[in-house]
């Protein structure tokens, strides 16, 4: 049991579960256009994505080129989505 409790992977997972519940909870109270919620939900999603990349996919221990590539993917994707969302508001 200690193996699970004192493991970074488990801590990361607990955080991911918690923010998933939070993001889902917030969005259940909204059925109209809601920029604050949307930006919050998207930012949470990309933070979750980065945590999965960093800890689960072990990119934190990989060569620099892979770290850079993953960051570039995350930032470019998140920015394009947020920009296009904001553009049509």
């Amino acid at each position: 049991m200690n193996y699970f409790l004192h493991n970074t992977l488990t801590h990361v997972w607990a955080f991911l579960m918690a923010v998933t519940v939070a993001a889902w909870g917030f969005s259940q109270h909204s059925d109209g256009v809601n920029p604050a919620l949307t930006i919050g939900v998207l930012v949470i999603a990309f933070i979750k994505a980065q945590l999965v990349i960093w800890h689960f996919m072990e990119v934190k221990r990989s060569p620099a080129w892979l770290k850079k590539t993953c960051w570039a993917w995350l930032i470019v994707t998140a920015l394009l989505i947020l920009i296009f969302y904001a553009y049509f508001l």
Binding site: W24, D31, L37, A45, Y85
Partner: protein
């Protein structure tokens, strides 16, 4: 304090810093390409969502939010067990690795089942991909993601067989399967936010 910590960080005992790639290089080629392909679709989705905001919002609210949510928790939990399993393989704890990977497989296998619970009532109600542009995106992207999940389960089945039959399993092979499964998880996190949560 920080300087001594840095000194430890710069001189790791066995492996050179930042040279460990989890899994095979070719698997990473596939993962990065897959992420980019999905990104192109995400960006196009956002664009068309902006143009047809009313339609997309209305259709989004018809989705089964609960199943989307539970499926996210399922993939996250399954991913945790895979990650723990891969870690156990590196620590030489092969029996524990096998148990963890088995658990991950059975949790992951719930995803397609719930996807059918989500899809079939929709299709029976006449809401097919031809319904509107939102549903076309919805079925294509969740369908493509489902293909990835199914492939992931097949890979995991091979990993389980490998772990059960080999005395000293190939850690690189286990890692390749694991990073693929995490990518499936990661893509669903974004799909979930974009199709179910954003308003």
């Amino acid at each position: 304090m920080t300087s001594s910590a840095d000194a430890v960080m710069t001189k790791p005992p066995t492996t050179p810093p930042g040279s460990q790639l989890a899994g095979e290089g070719s698997m990473w080629f596939f993962i990065i390409g897959d992420l980019i392909i999905f990104s192109v679709y995400f960006v196009f989705y956002t664009w068309h969502r902006g143009i047809n905001q009313e339609l997309f919002l209305e259709s989004q609210l018809q989705l089964n939010q609960g199943i989307g949510f539970i499926n996210t928790l399922i993939l996250l939990t399954s991913s945790l067990f895979i990650a723990l399993g891969a870690q156990s393989v590196h620590e030489g704890e092969y029996r524990r690795a096998l148990a963890l990977m088995r658990t991950a497989f059975f949790i992951g296998a719930l995803f397609p089942v719930l996807k059918m619970v989500e899809w079939l009532p929709k299709i029976n109600a006449g809401i097919t991909p031809g319904e509107n542009l939102f549903y076309l995106y919805y079925y294509i992207m969740t369908g493509l993601h489902l293909c990835h999940v199914l492939l992931g389960l097949v890979i995991q089945a091979f990993v389980l067989r490998h772990l059960a039959s080999e005395k000293t399993p190939d850690a690189e092979f286990v890692d390749s399967g694991a990073v693929y499964w995490h990518m499936v998880d990661l893509l669903w996190i974004v799909v979930f936010a974009m199709f179910y949560l954003m308003r």
